[in-house]
Assembly symmetry: D2
Homo-oligomer: 142 residues x 4
């Protein structure tokens, strides 16, 4: 599981004093960017060299508890499934030992030039597969 902590800033909160949820999602995209970079695939190179981006096609969000300015947001990202061009993720975001929100998230590999989906390149697929978090994920033959 990929984990990273991000601050919830003054500028991410709204006049009601809690996190503005579109700002949460901006932070989440940064976490996804960090995840790919941690695997050796920074987005700029994917964009420029492979002409590939990873748009979101599904995102199911559940907001459980409000986030406050100054919270340290602990993101946990789990890889749940890898398709030809898709990737299914689960996110759990916590602060103060409380789950603030969760997300089920599907992204796809897509061509920047045509917006059509693209099969994951072998090296990216291999790296993502190593992150798979399902029972027996690494032992498909057993």
């Amino acid at each position: 599981m990929f984990t990273i902590t991000k601050p919830l800033r003054f500028g991410d909160c709204d006049p009601s004093g809690i996190a503005y949820f579109p700002s949460y999602l901006n932070i989440l995209v940064g976490v996804l960017e960090d995840f790919f970079a941690s695997l050796g695939f920074p987005w700029r190179a994917m964009n420029d060299e492979l002409r590939m981006s990873v748009p979101t096609v599904r995102l199911d969000l559940t907001f459980v508890s409000p986030g406050f300015q100054g919270d340290a947001l602990d993101f946990a990202l789990a890889v749940r499934a890898i398709g030809r061009a898709s990737l299914d993720l689960e996110h759990t975001v916590s602060a103060r030992d409380t789950v603030l929100w969760t997300a089920r998230h599907r992204i796809v590999a897509a061509s920047i030039d045509t917006n059509a989906s693209l099969a994951w390149p072998d090296d990216i697929r291999a790296a993502l597969t190593q992150q798979l978090e399902t029972p027996h994920a690494h032992h498909p033959a057993t």
Copy 2:
């Protein structure tokens, strides 16, 4: 059904040339704000006078087709259910006669001071009920 058109701006798009989805959600919050204002309940008054905000608790997003800089985004917001403190909405967002994305969305009325849920005030509930889009919605006894 509440409908409104919003431009997809240069600043809402990303280096891959399509809409950055957190920007879509910032626009969506503005549509929700316009919807409440259209019913006679601008958020500033709700915030200041009623000490009430309407945070999102569930949001299930499906992105169907990419949005491009300069698109005119046609938002259609339908009220699907009204609970004691909750409101279930469905959004359909189109451009160029194509559905770009859809959302199932639950918000709740909440206290700005305690973050606890609050029953909808009678006048807001009455206005929301008039927007309900279900068969026989206005004739619960039949």
Copy 3:
């Protein structure tokens, strides 16, 4: 002078209850986009067909009075000077008959491919020149 009114939204304000200034600037870029569109030069076509964008090179901001959620922001944009590749603008932003902030703003025409400055194309220059707001601007021979 180009004028347009934009709402200051819930999502543009911060936990101190007033406008978050980076959101003001996001709105300002939208005003600039509307200004170019009003002259017949929508940015998407400039970007795609001319491979030209208009990055900001100078921006001097003075914030006079706070903006509040729900304010109707009246933008007034004046063209002050046109160079080979540059454009000098002045912005005055008001609400409730009060000036909230002002800006002196220089943009340049630039190549999206090389980031080098580009001379304004003749038709854009002509349209911008018609907007020039200086004494005798429209009567150069007098």
Copy 4:
């Protein structure tokens, strides 16, 4: 001088492929927040306990060179002057050993309740004064 490095993310860039300047300013506000926290004054406590925020009243920006997705932005913040309620800062933002942009920046201490300026509390003033970067700043008697 306070220094910190921040990534320039995919979501901070625009369809022309370079940094979207309002996103730069969102990042800058985060740097300012980090600066105050580094002195022992996190904004949430300032907001909640002192009912104080630090709005921007002047900001003069010069954009020298474009920032690209994936850049590591090196922020250097220098304190130039401290007034009764004001603070003058200078920012230099670099990447790839190149200055991307600079800013002269004045903030003021202000009441969240009245928006009026407030004298810096003694402890904050003392901490800021230790950061002053002017000749002889620490030796006023010489």
